[in-house]
Symmetry: C2
Subunit: 638 residues, 2 copies
């Protein structure tokens, strides 16, 4: 370690005046460039590069420029000082240098091997912002939006399959990836690439769990634009939303409970502790997220002040995330279910103005956050200072990711098809296999801890896999759709009606249709419709008619006057589900004051957006709600 | 300086999992509390505490709790280490402590006297966030919103007076405050309170300039709610918006060009350099802000994708701020005029959906940012670690601020009344005098640099003055209005018509009415209407009719096809101004799909909002646009 004495002035003259402005400007510039590119592509119906891919590309170029054009002006680079007086690192260090006291803030512990010449490049440092910003600020709006825009009708029809893919599939994917990576790590040890640092099986599992978070934002955007078969869309969308949550909790559980004593043997106690931990964290986060969502009930008469309402809505949803994180639970899961619950109950209590405001606000925040993250991923390839690219590990990861995806989709689809009336077609399975893109969540999980060498290898590898999947798989979506002959230009409404008709023609037993929606959820839905909705919102049947006789004083108190009009039909849950959705959708459509192209435009721009379901009403409503009617080029690919 | 060796572990177990979440949660919690309080107050028509005052109060309580409940767990507090090897502080310090390398990031240079026991309280440290966050993230949306919601009609009618108050008045206020403070500083030196640190005249002027930024957000909110006389409202609103910009540039100029050699003598060269600097920075920032605003012209056909449009709009406006800061200009001025220009030109090019989205987005961001800042101000009283409260200085500042405001308002009003047809009434002058609240901008300017003792005294004093003015003056607005017998419950439209009628009755010469709007701006307005509007937007007369004959090929190319319908009436600028406003307002109203109370609610909530002008159309439009019609309690106070 050198002991150089250099005279460097930290504060330049302008320091006071543009702290942080340049870095933010760079991001703004990249985002503006991205938006203009998207616009150009959309205008020319060019679908091989999605906005996120574009953002990543621009980030990459900018990172290259920053790294090699802005020279490290700080001569202190890589100099390590000995401070004999200190025995450990305090969070704030006051240092007396030539009779001036300087305050230094603890950033991180770094390994000796990480000390390099780029360490002191102030620009690189500023551009690599704190991972906690990802988790606390950029990720919540994306996940919340996914939950908030999740439309229940198609989702619940495929709920069993979605849950299977999300829970069982992610677990399979995690374990398969872990095992394959462990094989590759063993191979690396064998050829001597891994002599200086250790790589345990739990590390491999950790990598497996973070790589199991799929994020097919590109694919879904294209599906949406082309109106691909609704079942396929819903399966993919539902899987990707829940799968993020599962992967995050899995990563969390693995990182906490790894058997420290002998990391390579299987420790049954630790394993079951991990499983228990997983279930506990998942349930806790779910409960916390949902409980935050029901704060804004029909009794808070905030409707008169839409600004306050929107503000409260926004802050409560964010608080759901933050509280869960602060309590040691998983914020992402909390905010996801907060979004779902908000959409289900709170949304009905909002004033029409607030309904629109919140929808647009979250849509906008989702759009910005997503593009910032993808820009940042591009930047990180060159600005992150401690990359370790190991070719064998990267190759192994590439193989593992595909094998894991395959062993998730194909076997599970086979078993699901045994129970499903509406089979998941082989080509759909191929498409789902192909749509295993990795994105923001995998990246965020990987960047959270890059202190040790195994974690740095994982981070660099995860980053490359994100690039690869977004550009190659994302870009190949349209050709793949054509090649697999998957229907495009499907009107989701007609599609459903047609299916229902064909079913009722071939099978007159109504119960079959019922069994097709998840039976467990039908019970829940009935309970929800009879008790929760009337309690928490102004809709649904009056509690006086659903609760037993002896509860009637309480029931009368809790029932909204407007609920009495809507009397309960006896137990027909299919009717309830459809009717419920219909009411909501019509309400939504009535408050979207935009002409046809605009609405479509916004859908195209946001990827996971689901507004087109505003059009899913019964036939009689179709004349009124025609803002999707002018959808261009039907069946252009099929 | 002690040389203790303590063993402190920086990273607790949960460190990895809730970085930053707790601090954000505290802010969220405070904001939720504030919103609920506002709602309660609004419901009970309680006007003595505005939302900003409430936010400050909650922040104060929370700050108290954080300071005295969370004990400083870090034993290293106030320990200064000697590092003999270093001669200056590098931006990143790598320190080898017991064979582990820790990375420390440069935070600031601190004076020896600032080293105290609270230095190491991690919680306090985390809550006092970087001043650059104020400047780069929280302030821009507030200022932009002020510019964007600035309605031209009343503003231009009072333009001369507003400019006089904003430029001349702020300069007077700055100098008067500076002189009075210099007197108090001399007195402090006399009684021996100022022996250890120096306080120059330029420091006093600096304090004067930062205390000249008035922010009557509370007063304006109440004015809006009660429909106080429009002229008074416009004068105050216009003054406060421009005055922030002037005060910021003034502070900047003073902080750069202080005669370093002998700070107490008057240096004519440095003075004129400062004046030149002021003008240069102001003009440069103005130009930069406006140039960013015209990017989204009618030729960028982004209307089909409202999400992209909104995104681009947002990013461009923010970039105006950041570019100006990065270029050494003043971002606030740039973003203010960017907002004004966006509202004037770009707004007309937006799709109807985007018009609403941008309005609501900026309204929401303004609301959040404002409340965060006021919460933070409350927090800062207890969490900021280097307060210096000097009673004499604080008393001096209180006196200075009032004397300065008086010597701004009364003499200038006197001179303005010499030229104005519509005199500024004596009671109006008292009300303006009374509305000299200090807020976010003064605080942000003061917190930007708290390195030296004079700056710390200024910061602590500025903070107390903000508290005092917001709570005492803000709370006293309603009684003051009643006491000064100022008209409330005025319909802005009727008001204007009545005034116009009384004028045309007493004076048939049309030119007098014309002369009342600033004559300089009438020339500009004509130019704008004839050339700029047709060039940049789809409205206005076609360029083919306004440009000379020989330009016609270019003119035809640049004119929007929709412009040909609107032929130029010959030179009647009054008609143009009114007509222009009318078109805009009707357009706006037509796209606000909210019922009566909602719209009013949002106005009340945002303070500086100006939506009610959407109703300022001619009589014939009044039947259609009745969303303000149900305004409660007219003339309740008069």
């Amino acid at each position: 370690m050198e002991k150089l004495k250099k005279y460097v002035s930290v504060k330049d003259e302008d320091h006071f005046y543009h702290q942080g402005a340049v870095e933010l400007l760079i991001f703004n510039f990249l985002l503006i460039l991205t938006i203009l590119t998207i616009w150009l592509f959309k205008n020319h119906r060019f679908r091989f590069l999605h906005e996120t891919g574009g953002a990543m590309l621009y980030g990459l170029v900018m990172g290259l420029v920053i790294r090699y054009v802005t020279k490290s002006a700080d001569v202190e680079s890589g100099t390590v000082y000995e401070c004999e007086e200190l025995k450990s690192g305090p969070s704030t260090l006051l240092i007396n240098i030539t009779n001036q006291v300087y305050e230094y803030q603890y950033k991180r512990e770094i390994n000796h091997h990480n000390v390099n010449g780029h360490q002191g490049n102030a620009m690189l440092q500023k551009m690599t912002f704190d991972p906690s910003i990802f988790f606390n600020i950029l990720l919540p709006p994306i996940i919340f939006h996914a939950g908030y825009s999740l439309k229940k009708r198609h989702f619940f029809r495929n709920l069993g399959s979605i849950l299977t893919y999300a829970f069982l599939g992610t677990a399979i994917s995690c374990i398969v990836t872990g095992l394959i990576m462990y094989g590759f790590v063993k191979a690396m040890v064998h050829i001597g690439q891994l002599n200086q640092w250790e790589f345990h099986f739990t590390d491999c599992l950790f990598f497996g769990s973070l790589m199991s978070a799929t994020d097919p934002v590109t694919v879904l955007a294209i599906f949406h634009e082309l109106n691909v078969d609704t079942d396929l869309y819903t399966l993919l969308f539902g899987e990707s939303v829940l799968n993020d949550a599962v992967a995050i909790v899995l990563t969390h559980s693995i990182s906490i409970y790894s058997p420290k004593e002998n990391p390579n043997t299987f420790d049954a106690a630790a394993f079951f502790q991990s499983v228990g931990n997983f279930l506990g964290i998942f349930a806790g986060s779910f409960a916390m997220g949902s409980s935050y969502a029901v704060h804004l009930t029909k009794f808070t008469k905030l409707c008169e002040f839409p600004m306050l309402e929107t503000g409260l809505f926004f802050l409560l949803s964010w608080s759901a995330f933050l509280s869960a994180e602060a309590a040691g639970l998983t914020g992402i899961v909390a905010v996801l279910f907060c979004g779902v619950t908000q959409a289900h109950y709170t949304y009905n209590n909002l004033s029409p103005d607030s309904k629109m405001r919140t929808k647009q606000l979250f849509e906008f925040m989702n759009f910005l956050a997503e593009n910032v993250i993808f820009c940042y991923m591009g930047l990180a390839l060159f600005t992150f200072q401690n990359h370790i690219f190991n070719p064998l590990f990267i190759f192994g990861a590439l193989v593992a990711v595909f094998v894991a995806r395959a062993s998730n989709i194909y076997p599970l689809s086979f078993f699901l098809n045994l129970g499903r009336k509406q089979k998941i077609h082989r080509n759909f399975q191929h498409m789902m296999m192909f749509s295993g893109l990795r994105g923001a969540v995998a990246f965020a999980l990987a960047i959270r801890d890059t202190g040790t060498q195994p974690r740095q290898v994982m981070f660099s590898t995860a980053l490359l896999l994100v690039f690869f999947t977004v550009w190659v798989l994302g870009g190949g979506t349209t050709p793949m759709l054509a090649w697999l002959q998957i229907r495009v230009g499907v009107d989701p409404d007609e599609d459903l009606t047609a299916k229902a008709a064909s079913q009722s023609a071939s099978n007159l037993d109504k119960n079959t249709t019922k069994a097709e929606s998840a039976w467990l959820f039908r019970i829940w839905y009935g309970f929800d419709h009879k008790y929760l909705k009337p309690l928490l919102t102004h809709t649904g049947p009056p509690l006086t008619s659903t609760l037993p006789e002896w509860c009637s004083p309480v029931a009368r108190l809790l029932t909204s006057p407007s609920a009495y009009g809507d009397q309960l039909k006896d137990g027909d849950t299919v009717y309830i589900i459809n009717n419920d959705e219909l009411t909501e959708n019509c309400e939504l459509s009535a408050h979207v004051p935009v002409p046809a192209q605009d609405s479509t435009g916004s859908i195209q721009a946001t990827g996971k957006e689901d507004i087109q379901e505003g059009d899913l009403g019964l036939g009689s409503y179709k004349l009124q709600l025609q803002h999707i009617a002018s959808q261009p080029q039907k069946n252009s690919l099929a």
